[in-house]
Structure formats: C-alpha cells, structure tokens
C-alpha cells in the first residue's frame, strides 16, 4: 500500500471519527432545544419498548329472575394478517374464503396491503367460533409441513395469517326473549332492548395501559372490573310459555303478528313480553331477514296502534272516578250519536235500548261510551288519559320505546269529534305496554306502577336492587275496585272465551279497524284483549294484541281465547291456587 493511499485512509477515518461526535452533539442540542421533538422521540421509544394494550372487561351477563343465563360470553377469534410477514396473499385469501366464508376479493385486497409504519395489521374477519379456528389450525399446520423450506417466492404460504382470541356475546336460549334482550354486533355495540339501553353499564370501562416488553420491567396489570350483570324480572319459563302461546295464536288465527304482555300490577314487574317475529340472537347478522323494512324489533314497546274497545276501560274509569256516571246509570242506546259533527254507531250498527254501564261495557257499545265521554267533558277526560300515561312513554327500561299519540284540545289536529272516537279507542295510538301499564292502575287499586324489566344490577361484587316506582295514581281505589268487579261480571254474563275455571278474572275485548289514508275503509282489524286476576288479589295483568287476524276480525273470537290459554299456563308457573283453595289457605291460621 502506498504511503499516499494509507494517508488518505487515515484521513477518512479521522474525518468519520470527528463527524460522528459532531452529529451526536448537534442532535443532542437539537433535542434539548426543542421540547416537542424530545417528547415525540420519548413517545416513539415508549411505543416500541412499552406497546399499549387495551384491557377490555368481560361484558356483563344477563340473568332471568331465577338465575338462568340469558346472555353470556364465550371465546371467539379475530382472524387477520400481519402484513410484514405475508408471503403469499392469494393462499391466505383462498384459505379464509373457503374455511371462514370471507369474500375472496376482500381478503386478497386486505392481505396484499403494503406494510408500513402506520399499517402493520389487517383484520379479515371477527367473531369466528373456536370450531372454525380448529379447522384453520389444521390447514396452517398442513401447509407449513408441505411447503416449508425452499426459496420459491410463489409457493403457497399462510405466513402472516394470525388469529387472536377474545370474548364475544352468546345467547344460550337463542330466540327466547330476543325482543327483550337485543343483541351485540360485531363491533361490540348493543342494539335494541337491554343490550342497547344498558350498553355502557354492561360493557364496563376498558382501560388502556402500556405493557413493557422487557420481562425485567414486568408489572401487574391493573384490574379492570367486568361489566355489570343484570337480573331481570322476566321468568324464563313464563316467557317461554307465553311465546309458545302467542306463536300458536298467530298461526291459528292467521294474524300478521302477535304480542303478549304479562306484568305484575302490584309492582310493575314485567314477567313476560312475547312478540313476533323473534330472531336467534347468536346470528345477529340475519337481522334484516327476520325484520324486513319497518318491522319493529319489539312491537310491545315500539309499535303504537289504535287499540279499539280495550280503551273503553280507561274511558269508563275516568267517568266513574270523576262521578260523571255510576255503574247503575242508564243510557238509552238509540244506535247512533252525533258528537262534533261525527256520527257514531255501534259495532253491529244496532240500537241496544236502555243499558246500564255494565251493559255498555259488556256489549262494548261505542254510542254509550261516546256519550260517557261527553258527560266527563274534554278537560277531565284528557286529564285522566294523561294521568294514565297515554301519549307518553311508560319509561320501561328497554331501548326504543314509542310514545304513541294522544291529540288533545288545543292541538291543531284535534276536533270535537275526537272526544267521542277516543272514548272507544279510535283516533288515539298507544303501544301495548302503555295500555297494559295504564290498565294496571285499575287492577292495582288505582296505583300505576312503572314497568320494569331489570330487577337488580350486580356491579363490583354487590347486588343493587332497583326500586319499584309509582308512576301516578290516576283514580281512586274505590273506583278501581268497582270497575274491576263490573268488568268481571261483564265477562261472566257474556260467557266470554276468556273465562278460566277456578279463577275469577276481569277483562275487556277490543276490535279496532285499521285506518287507511282514506279513513276506516279496510276490513282488517287489530284484535286485543286485556285481563287481570285473580279479581280479589290481582297477581297478573295480560295484554294480548293480534294484528290483522285472518279467521275472524273480532277480539272476542281471536284474542280472548289467547288470554285464557295464557292464564292457564301462568297460574301453574306462578303456583297460583284456584280462588277457593287460596281463600281456604289464607283463612287458615
């Protein structure tokens, strides 16, 4: 080596040894002089050595009042690709497409993404059950053993395909009480029912922590409490029996849909809330198939409809309470009455002659009830309806409750004729739960309890009972008892299909024509029945609604037998003795 060359090399080495420290010093000064840059670099280092991790608590479970699990959690997997490890995106796309049903083009596009500092992982599919993952594991192992080694860039490879476990929602009872529970979607958000109403409570609070990769700095992860558990007032057995009853009724009557509400009038606790259609909540992605356009998820709380003659119970309650009539008041029914320019006739267009109030209710006379409403007067009539909660949400603890519509004097679309039509449930819209809650005041000595589905919340080791609330006291206890007896007698005189051997019940049928844009021109009806019992100590109130029944338009023909069938099931499940045995038992010391 020539001396000149050696000298040049030494010079270069010297320069490098000089420049590097200068650069380091320059960088040190730059970082010290710029706090933002310093923080940015500190964060960058922190991200690499202490990557952040979100601790997601298990979603709270939902139990019925006997402790049966209605909504729980189970391990599911998310499948994705670590982009920098991917060797053959086509193999990955083919595999997940064949095994997990992921769209091939979508999977190929995701797996072909270029890895970068902002894009390291691509999700392919979530909520994959463990059974599917087992199949995937086998394929991955087979591929590894068949195609490992070699330098062929195009050989099949599943490198980069990864799966991570996490908890997902499961509903062990599948369709049971689905309209009450709602569901959790793939993103973990609650939709409808309890899952939506109590979403934040059930989900709990996730926490983001930094976990050092260095084992020397390993530390205990902070404890994150699970989401709160809910205990419902719903009894699984009662709910199942009521769902079977309403399903049979819908099938036998050829109705479009059916709804059945069972509540305890003394407490407002909802024992069952059965509607059609219902879906298997474990397959929430089929929502659009089960609930096509405009189909409510839970008719009992969402869909307001003109209830028809069951509304007469509220009209008669207000008239008796305000003193406008007594049960003995006689009305001579001429078959027609004109109120505010509207001509009201009876359901059979007939004149029923002299009728006391029991006769009016027994024969469900529109003319008589329209007259009763005029005797009450609009001011008192609508005050009572407001106190019964008509036109307002009942406050049931489920998402998506509808408020219905009550037009009142002073509203631009209220006319004097509404007073008469509202008296028999026309021109007013209410949801089944609103009707059930309003009429529960008559069954419960004039006290209207707030409907509730959640009985208790279990959070951080303690069970918090939810207090029962009085919504209002719309009428006197004496009036409520009087009306209950009147309605029980009406059913008995009518030999209604709602009567049950051994149990005295009160109730009222309802048949409402369905309005069209041209008025009440359709032959289709909404058939309803509301009833409660045992008369001297009501333990249940049942509201039945069949939408557009095919075999008969009348509530007395299609809805009353559903009430009887429901009560026959209910008294067994609630251990309710027949009236004579109950009296005998209660008289024993």
């Amino acid at each position: 080596m020539k001396a000149q060359e050696r000298s040049r090399r030494y010079s270069l080495l010297g320069t490098l040894f000089t420049v590097f420290p200068v650069i380091i010093i320059f960088q040190m000064v730059r970082i010290q002089a710029n706090p933002d840059l310093g923080q940015k670099l500190r964060d960058m280092g922190e991200t690499i050595t202490n990557p952040s991790m979100t601790i997601t608590p298990a979603r709270g479970q939902i139990y019925d009042q006997r402790g049966h699990l209605l909504a729980g959690n189970r391990t599911v997997y998310e499948v994705g690709v670590e982009l920098q490890d991917v060797k053959n995106p086509m193999t990955i796309a083919q595999t997940v497409s064949a095994l997990l049903g992921v769209n091939y083009d979508y999977a190929l596009a995701r797996a072909s993404l270029q890895a970068s500092s902002t894009s390291v992982y691509a999700l392919l599919i979530d909520n994959v059950p463990p059974e599917e993952i087992e199949k995937l594991k086998v394929v991955i192992e087979q591929m590894n053993s068949m195609y490992s080694g070699g330098k062929d860039e195009n050989k099949p490879s599943l490198r980069g395909l990864v799966y991570y476990p996490h908890l997902g929602r499961i509903y062990p009872e599948e369709t049971l009480a689905s309209n009450i529970l709602g569901f959790v979607n793939a993103e973990g958000e609650g939709y409808f029912g309890l899952e939506e109403r109590f979403d934040s409570l059930l989900a709990g609070r996730s926490k983001k922590v930094r976990v050092p990769l260095d084992p020397n700095r390993a530390q205990e992860l902070p404890s994150v409490p699970n989401g709160a558990n809910l205990v419902l007032t719903i009894d699984r057995e009662v709910q199942r029996a009521m769902e079977q009853v309403i399903d049979r009724a819908v099938a036998q009557t050829g109705s479009d849909s059916g709804t059945l509400v069972v509540l305890d009038p003394r407490t407002g606790e909802v024992m069952a809330l059965a509607t059609t259609p219902r879906m298997d909540l474990n397959q929430f992605w089929k929502f659009a198939q089960v609930f096509p356009k405009d189909t409510p998820f839970n008719r009992a709380i969402t869909q307001a409809y003109e209830p028809g003659s069951v509304f007469k119970v509220l009209t008669m309650a207000s008239a008796l309470d305000v003193g406008a009539v007594t049960p003995e008041t006689v009305f001579v029914d001429t078959g027609v009455i004109e109120v505010g320019g509207a001509v009201i006739t009876n359901w059979n267009q007939g004149a029923w002659g002299p009728q006391d109030m029991q006769g009016c209710m027994q024969h469900s006379l529109n003319v008589c009830l329209a007259w009763v409403a005029t005797q009450v007067g609009p001011e008192d009539f609508y005050r009572y309806l407001r106190n019964f909660g008509i036109g307002h949400v009942s406050g049931i603890d489920l998402a998506g409750e509808g408020s219905g519509r009550l037009k009142e004097p002073g509203d631009s679309d209220w006319y004097e004729a509404e007073l008469a039509t509202n008296a028999f449930g026309q021109g007013v819209a209410a949801t089944p739960i609103q009707m059930a809650v309003a009429i529960s005041a008559i069954a419960n000595q004039g006290v209207m309890m707030a409907p509730q589905v959640v009985q208790a919340v279990v959070s951080e080791g303690y069970q918090h009972q939810i207090d029962q609330r009085v919504l209002s006291m719309p009428l006197k206890a004496e009036t409520a008892n009087k009306l209950s007896r009147l309605l029980a007698r009406s059913l008995e005189l009518e030999s209604s299909d709602a009567l049950i051997t051994g149990y005295r019940v009160a109730g009222k049928t309802g048949t409402a024509e369905i309005p069209t844009p041209d008025g009440y021109t359709s032959n289709q009806t909404n058939a309803s029945f509301v009833g409660w019992g045992p008369l001297d100590d009501p333990r249940f109130l049942i509201y039945v609604w069949l939408e557009k029944p095919g075999i008969s338009p009348w509530g007395s023909v299609v809805a009353a037998p559903v009430f009887r069938e429901a009560v026959e099931e209910l008294v067994v499940l609630l251990n309710l003795p027949p009236d004579d045995i109950r009296r005998k038992l209660s008289s024993e010391p």
């Binding site: 298990a58 479970q61 139990y63 009042q65 006997r66 402790g67 049966h68 699990l69 729980g72 959690n73 189970r74 391990t75 476990p165 908890l167 499961i170 062990p172 009872e173 599948e174 049971l176 260095d214 084992p215 020397n216 700095r217 390993a218 530390q219 205990e220 992860l221 558990n229 205990v231 699984r236 057995e237 199942r240 009985q455 208790a456 279990v458 080791g461 303690y462 069970q463 918090h464 009972q465 051997t501 026959e568 099931e569 067994v572 251990n575 003795p577 027949p578 045995i581 038992l585």
Partner: protein, 159 residues
C-alpha cells in the same frame, strides 16, 4: 550515600516478585469483576425469568377468565329451556294438559325466591370485637383499666 543505596538494594524486591504482584493484582481485579458480573447475571437472569413467569401468568389469567366464561355459557346452553325440554321428551315425559293439573297444597313449601348473585349493596357492619383488648391496648391502658375494675369492685362492696 553509598550506604543508602546498599540498603535500598538489599531491601528492594526482586523484579520477578514485582511482576508476580502485578499479575496477582490484575487477576484479583479480574476475579472480582467476574464475580460481580456473575452475581449481576445471576440476579438479572432470575429477575428476567420471574418477569417472564409474570407475563405467562397474566396470559394464563386471561385464558382462564375466558374459559370460565366459556364454561358458564356452555352450562347455560346445556340447561337451556329448549335443551331441557328435548331431554325430558327423550326420557318419555309429556306435557300435562292444563285441565288435568290439580293444585296440591304442600305444608311447609316455600316458593323459590328470586336469585341473589351477590350481597346486597347495604354493607354489613361487623360489630363483634375481633380481638380481646389485651392484644390491642398498651401497658398503661391495661393498668388504667385494671385500676378502674378494682375501683368499681371496691365501691360496690362498700355499698
């Protein structure tokens, strides 16, 4: 002057001895460094192993929590109303027609209460003294208490 040089020569160490001391010192330093490094490595390795154990246990906790949820859900599925009905039917049970059901009063039967999953939110206050005062009081407090007891006894006897 010569005397001093002679004395220094007589008492100075041989060169080989000086070399040996230097080597020994060097070796001692090396051994010490090796010892410290060995201790450090040992402790560091054990701390790392414990750290890895902690990380593994944290992963286990997560896995076990998932397994608990899985088992609860699986149990619920096995005991679901549709499964129970199917099992009852397979065992030959049939549903009793409602008109054949007779109410039977059983003395002493208590209706099943609603489920209690956890203690109610009203916290229980433990009123019982967990430990006798001898274990918690100081010697002066003990003396004062004993004196008060004797005083009470004496005054009661005088009455």
């Amino acid at each position: 002057m010569d005397q001093f040089e002679n004395l220094a020569r007589n008492y100075s160490q041989a060169p080989w001895r000086k070399q040996l001391q230097t080597i020994a010192l060097f070796l001692l330093i090396v051994v010490l460094i090796a010892l410290v490094a060995g201790i450090y490595l040992n402790i560091s390795a054990r701390a790392t192993a414990v750290g890895r154990d902690i990380q593994a246990m944290q992963a286990d906790v997560k896995k076990f929590n998932r397994e608990i949820e899985d088992l609860q859900s699986e149990l619920a599925r096995i005991l679901s109303s549709s499964q129970m009905e199917a099992r009852a039917e397979s065992l030959g049970f049939i549903q009793v027609p409602t008109d054949e059901i007779v109410y039977l009063s059983v003395p002493g039967y208590v209706e099943r209460p609603a489920i209690i999953l956890a203690p109610t939110s009203e916290r229980t206050v433990v009123r019982a003294i967990a430990m006798p005062p001898e274990y918690t009081e100081s010697i002066f407090e003990w003396l004062a208490r004993k004196a008060m007891d004797w005083y009470t006894i004496l005054t009661e006897e005088q009455r």
